[in-house]
């Protein structure tokens, strides 16, 4: 058995994700990173909201907190203040993190809470049946945009950077190795690390837009340009999102990294960790 699978709750598998769902690819890549970094996940807490991506935390043998829709960052903020020594990883989706939880995202970024926020962006509400999300590209068909989406999507990475995230990156399920490298950097970062991962919803977004199978969707991701080893000092600007029914070609890589006091540092909450609990 691959060593990262020691981090699973075996009785919970197989997971509930659909055939070909990109979330599963990212999930296992995340486990590989954790496998390399942690002997046990006793000091790691995953905080998730509601949605397909958020469900993956339930399969990890760690402290796992499956919260309410859109609010995982609020729980994570409180937890991190009570126990700054814990490694906190927030798993959220594009609906969870950018729509109902958009306000919490920008404020967690602004506060520079020392955690890693993984936002799985599959452009659609999968769990509720394929409705439009704030990331759905213009023209795309969903169950609530029967004539094609007329709204303009967010660029999550630019949003996070503007809100003050001190680490901003994008990866994709098509290149799990690139994702692993960026996640390592995100976990090394002290401060609010925002990592958007482009994944594919095969059953709803893929079918509704006739984009083919999970294989086809993965291959369509190959058009994205990985910008590995981006010169952080140069801070390349992100490209505007093209307005086509198919996901635009977005750059991958680390777009921004900077250092300023984390929330705990700003408040003088120590690293000893358990003052609040005493």
């Amino acid at each position: 058995m691959n060593t990262e699978k020691r981090l699973l709750r075996p009785d919970m598998m197989p997971h509930m994700l659909c055939p070909g769902c990109g979330h599963g690819i990212v999930f296992e890549a995340m486990l590989r990173v954790l496998d390399r970094r942690f002997a046990t996940l006793d000091q790691v807490v995953f905080v998730a909201g509601i949605g397909c991506s958020s469900r993956i935390v339930g399969y990890i043998d760690a402290g796992t907190l499956h919260t309410t829709h859109g609010r995982p960052l609020t729980f994570a903020t409180g937890l991190k203040m009570a126990r700054p020594e814990l490694t906190v990883i927030v798993v959220t989706g594009d609906g969870d993190g950018l729509s109902i939880g958009g306000n919490h995202l920008i404020h967690a970024a602004r506060r520079n809470v020392d955690l890693t926020c993984l936002l799985f962006n599959n452009e659609v509400y999968g769990m509720t049946g394929g409705q439009a999300a704030p990331t759905t590209v213009r023209g795309a068909y969903t169950s609530t945009t029967p004539g094609g989406n007329r709204e303009t999507p967010f660029d999550a990475a630019r949003l996070a950077e503007a809100a003050g995230a001190t680490f901003v990156a994008r990866a994709q399920s098509y290149r799990p190795q690139l994702f692993e490298g960026i996640l390592e950097q995100a976990l090394d970062h002290r401060g609010f690390a925002f990592l958007e991962v482009l994944t594919d919803c095969t059953e709803y977004f893929g079918r509704t837009n006739r984009l083919g199978t999970g294989v086809d969707l993965l291959q369509s991701q190959s058009r994205a340009e990985p910008a590995i080893g981006v010169d952080l000092a140069a801070r390349p600007t992100l490209r505007p999102v093209a307005e086509t029914a198919v996901r635009p070609t977005l750059p991958m890589g680390v777009f921004h990294q900077s250092r300023r006091p984390t929330l705990a540092e700003a408040l003088g909450v120590g690293g000893g960790g358990d003052e609040l609990a005493r």
């Binding site: 000091q43 609020t74 729980f75 409180g78 009570a82 306000n103």
Partner: protein, 406 residues
């Protein structure tokens, strides 16, 4: 007339909230209700507060912002009330005693997380200083309109624990009790105050600030390991979740779950869980007994809580002066409804008058317990002003004339 309009007497002083330190006699301090609430929280070991400004509760947040950093705690002003209670629950899962304070509109926004905390069994304290509603309503005027929201505001059948302080000193005491209940029952506890008590100042004894906070929340009796079942209840029916990062790895979810915390859609498991959550909060009725005033020989029993109970005492005195054998039963726990104690207190009454600043929210509960046999004539007033002692007295006299045979 002038008699009825005189200021109501202060509630009888509560026993000192904490033993006086160093043998010194504690002195009376003029304290605001909201401040008393914050002092009570601090004395109870609250070390995390997350809130969002809203009248008339803001002074609680302001005092916590001043005091918490000095005692190793954390104050956060969050982006909204959903975030506030979310952060409180996150901190609580880290092992901290945590609370938030708000008023009606914010309390509405917190309902989702109140439900979450109930189902996931996360201790916390939520103070709701009631103001006139619905909607933005009457931001600075008193009301008692959140009584039903405190129990039923969240979707589903939530087993609520809701306390109603009757004065400044009790703001402190019941906030402490709220923490004790929350920690013991592993559930959110609501302190349902009102604008008058929150903004009232009274002389009271403050607890010794140098007193050591209570010990940390105890962990579960089960050892960590693959067989660990965080939601396996103890003898009292309470699931004792450990704090995260203390050697236990477990799952917390707002989905229906089994004893291991794993999500389930099994109706049998779900029904049993709801049943247990209701049973586990039942002991609260014994832990927070009601207060009474001239009740022993009363045949006309007034039922009131919060500031209305303070006024009802004046009405009881006025009625007694006019030869009406009136008394007051003042619940300090609104939910779960202390049915037995209520039935006992009201046994033998020939008239029951519930007085509250809403359109009959708790009066329905009283009528339900009372049954059809006893005449009931609630004195209700919503719209932003308190029921005066004179109004209540006249109401009782009128009702008595209608219902009680001379």
């Amino acid at each position: 007339m002038s008699r009825a309009r005189r200021l109501p007497e202060p509630t009888r002083p509560l026993p000192p909230a904490a033993p006086a330190g160093n043998g010194a006699h504690p002195t009376l301090t003029l304290v605001q209700g909201n401040e008393a609430c914050a002092r009570g929280a601090l004395a109870a070991g609250c070390r995390f507060f997350a809130g969002y400004p809203i009248s008339p509760s803001s002074e609680i947040a302001e005092l916590m912002a001043r005091e918490l950093p000095g005692c190793g705690g954390v104050f956060l002003q969050m982006e909204d009330e959903m975030a506030s209670l979310g952060a409180v629950l996150g901190a609580s899962l880290g092992g901290a005693r945590a609370m938030t304070a708000t008023s009606g509109p914010g309390f509405s926004l917190m309902q989702e997380h109140l439900g979450y905390a109930s189902l996931a069994e996360i201790p916390c304290v939520v103070v709701d200083v009631m103001r006139g509603g619905p909607s933005t309503g009457l931001p600075t005027l008193p009301a008692q309109g959140d009584v039903m929201q405190a129990q039923w505001g969240s979707h589903g059948d939530r087993a609520a624990v809701v306390l109603a302080p009757g004065g400044v000193a009790e703001m402190l005491e019941l906030t402490r009790v709220a923490f004790e209940l929350a920690e013991r029952l592993r559930t959110p506890v609501v302190v349902l105050a009102d604008e008058v008590i929150a903004h009232m100042r009274e002389g009271m004894r403050l607890p010794d600030a140098s007193q050591a906070p209570p010990p940390p929340r105890p962990g579960p009796a089960q050892p960590p390991g693959p067989a660990f079942a965080p939601y396996r209840p103890n003898a009292a029916g309470v699931a004792e979740l450990p704090a995260f990062g203390r050697g236990y790895r477990f799952h917390v979810t707002g989905l229906m779950h089994d004893e291991r915390g794993r999500p389930t859609s099994d109706p049998v498991v779900a029904a049993a869980l709801l049943d247990r959550l209701e049973r586990k909060v039942a002991p609260a009725v014994d832990l927070v007994p009601a207060d009474t005033y001239r009740l022993a020989d009363a045949r006309v029993v007034l039922v009131a809580y919060g500031i209305t109970a303070r006024i009802a005492r004046a009405a009881v005195d006025a009625l007694r002066d006019q030869g009406v054998p009136a008394g007051l039963w003042r619940p300090r726990l609104l939910w779960p409804v202390p049915e037995q104690a209520m039935a006992q207190a009201l046994a033998g009454a020939e008239l029951v008058v519930v007085a509250e600043m809403n359109r009959g929210q708790w009066a329905r509960e009283v009528d339900r317990v009372l049954g059809p046999g006893v005449p009931s004539a609630p004195c209700l007033k919503a719209g932003g002003s308190v029921i005066t002692a004179e109004e209540l007295t006249q109401h009782v006299l009128g009702a008595r004339a209608r219902t009680v045979a001379p």
